[in-house]
């Protein structure tokens, strides 16, 4: 069904459905994304660095991020002197909403997708590019040179890495002949002669997605040592939390999209007993997605940070030519072998 289907159905029902689904997705993001992933990040980083990590709040520190969030809610909101009030308050909301919009096209299980758009992955690329506007305006509105530099770095980085990301999406679209995320999952597994192309596209996608999510080794926009904390230096409690929600939400969304495009989405290697098709799909999908998230965290706590010129060079001089060649080869394969 296309976006236009919104109007052919009874619109009051659609409106209610829209609000309910937005609430459900946002709750999933806030709980599964921000709360759980921050805890997972702290636990995994502690494990990699041979520490214990959060331990005291709840069993094994499980409630640590809940306590942190409550603390953030209680603290005072501060707007810096001579900051741009309007843009300063809009920016974090924009980032969080962009992360929320990503989830519209992610299929969790057979039939479990907010809306199966016929331009699915294109939509994903489009709304995830909204994040950078939030980061840029947040950095500027803070009236702080470090924030501004962080925002500018982020814009340069995200614009550079959108291209290789788009090429990976294009490759998948070429192989499956569709842009709809549901149909892409249904078209998998890919035939064996396409494995090399798909593998290259998957690696490019993973690198570009890490860069888009501003994570180490690509976390220059918020490099603590040089920029204090980058674009959100000046942000206090709940607005800072919204930035975090956006960051972890888009991390989770990128992992989910990686699962959808390259790991077979909801399809599992073998059916689990008693769960039914939807339960099976949900379990396999979440397992794969969180495995990708774990991989990204593992990378974050293992590698040091790049310099900005190395970072942009990697995108323009390595990833872009490689993915263009890859697209050419894959297109040839699809036309000739089929």
């Amino acid at each position: 069904m296309g976006l236009g289907g919104l109007l052919s159905a009874v619109w009051q029902v659609e409106l209610v459905r829209m609000v309910v689904l937005a609430a459900v997705v946002f709750t999933f993001l806030a709980v599964g994304g921000a709360l759980f992933l921050v805890l997972a990040e702290r636990k995994i980083s502690a494990w990699i660095q041979a520490r214990v990590g959060p331990k005291h709040v709840g069993p094994h520190g499980l409630l640590q991020t809940v306590a942190d969030t409550l603390k953030l809610l209680y603290k005072e909101n501060i707007v810096p002197h001579r900051a741009d009030r309007v843009l300063f308050s809009i920016a974090p909301i924009l980032v969080a909403v962009a992360a929320l919009l990503d989830w519209v096209v992610i299929p969790f299980a057979p039939g479990w997708v907010v809306r199966d758009l016929n331009v699915g992955i294109l939509y994903f690329a489009a709304v995830s590019s909204l994040t950078v506007i939030g980061i840029l305006t947040g950095g500027w509105a803070s009236n702080n040179k470090y924030s501004l530099l962080g925002g500018l770095r982020s814009a340069a980085q995200m614009v550079s890495y959108e291209l290789p990301l788009a090429f990976s999406l294009l490759l998948v679209a070429t192989l499956t002949g569709t842009l709809s995320t549901v149909r892409i999952v249904e078209a998998q597994p890919y035939p064996a002669y396409l494995y090399p192309s798909v593998a290259v596209a998957a690696v490019v996608f993973l690198v570009a997605a890490t860069a888009e999510a501003n994570r180490i080794p690509f976390d220059l926009p918020e490099a603590e040592a040089e920029l204090v904390a980058g674009y959100f230096s000046e942000y206090t409690p709940m607005r800072f939390a919204l930035f975090q929600l956006g960051e972890y939400g888009s991390l989770l969304a990128s992992s989910a999209l990686f699962t959808t495009l390259f790991l077979g989405g909801w399809k599992g290697p073998f059916p689990l007993p008693w769960l039914g098709p939807v339960g099976n799909g949900l379990v396999w999908f979440l397992l794969k997605t969180y495995a990708v998230v774990f991989f990204l965290m593992w990378v974050r706590w293992t590698y040091p940070r790049f310099r900005i010129d190395q970072l942009l060079g990697l995108s323009w001089k390595v990833l872009l030519p490689v993915s263009m060649m890859n697209l050419l080869v894959a297109g040839w394969l699809v036309v000739v072998v089929r």
Binding site: G2, L3, G4, L6, L7, W11, D84, V86, L87, I90, L117, N118, V119, L122, Y123, A125, A126, V127, S129, L130, V132, I133, L136, T137, W140, L148, G151, L152, A155, A156, M158, V159, E162, L179, L312, G313, W316, K317, L320, P321
Partner: protein, 164 residues
């Protein structure tokens, strides 16, 4: 009023308010950020016309790339906000006259054109149909455009490599 008209009015209001903010903001950054609701509203209008592909491209290119580029340039320029720049000059009456003439012209054209009845069911408007029309009837225009874009892509890589 049905749902479609309601949605159209909301989107049109979004476009108009955003556009007015773009024009009247004294602060350049505010003007650039106000482009976001304007362009998103236009994308919404495309969705109303069942042109999802164009809507997605509109968001990707105009909101995600061009607005970011404009913001980037403004923030890198000294005296970025443009608060000290005068917004109006002595050509206001002239501009008003030209705009009035344009409105009058459009109005006359809109009233004179014999609008035919609604033309049956919509043609299939999905990415596949768009792709086919690019590669069949409009192939020359499409190839020339893609050559331009490819040249700029290659140019970017060459410029980046020259620094070594």
């Amino acid at each position: 009023m049905n749902a479609e008209a309601l949605a159209f009015c909301a989107l049109a209001a979004m476009v108009l308010v955003g556009g007015a903010l773009v024009v009247y903001s004294r602060n350049l950054v505010h003007a650039a950020v106000s482009l976001v609701p304007t362009l998103l509203g236009v994308a919404g209008l495309y969705v109303l016309l069942h042109a999802e592909f164009v809507a997605a491209i509109q968001i990707l290119i105009y909101v995600g790339a061009i607005t970011v580029l404009i913001l980037f340039v403004i923030l890198l320029t000294e005296g970025a906000t443009g608060l000290r720049v005068r917004q109006r000059n002595e050509q206001v009456p002239l501009a008003l006259g030209v705009c009035g003439a344009l409105v009058a012209l459009l109005w006359v054209v809109l009233l004179r054109v014999p609008w035919g009845p609604a033309a049956g069911p919509l043609p299939p408007y999905n990415p596949g149909a768009v792709g086919r029309s690019f590669l069949m009837p409009y192939v020359l225009a499409f190839e020339v455009t893609s050559l331009v874009i490819l040249a700029s892509l290659v140019g970017a890589i060459v410029i980046a490599r020259r620094e070594e």
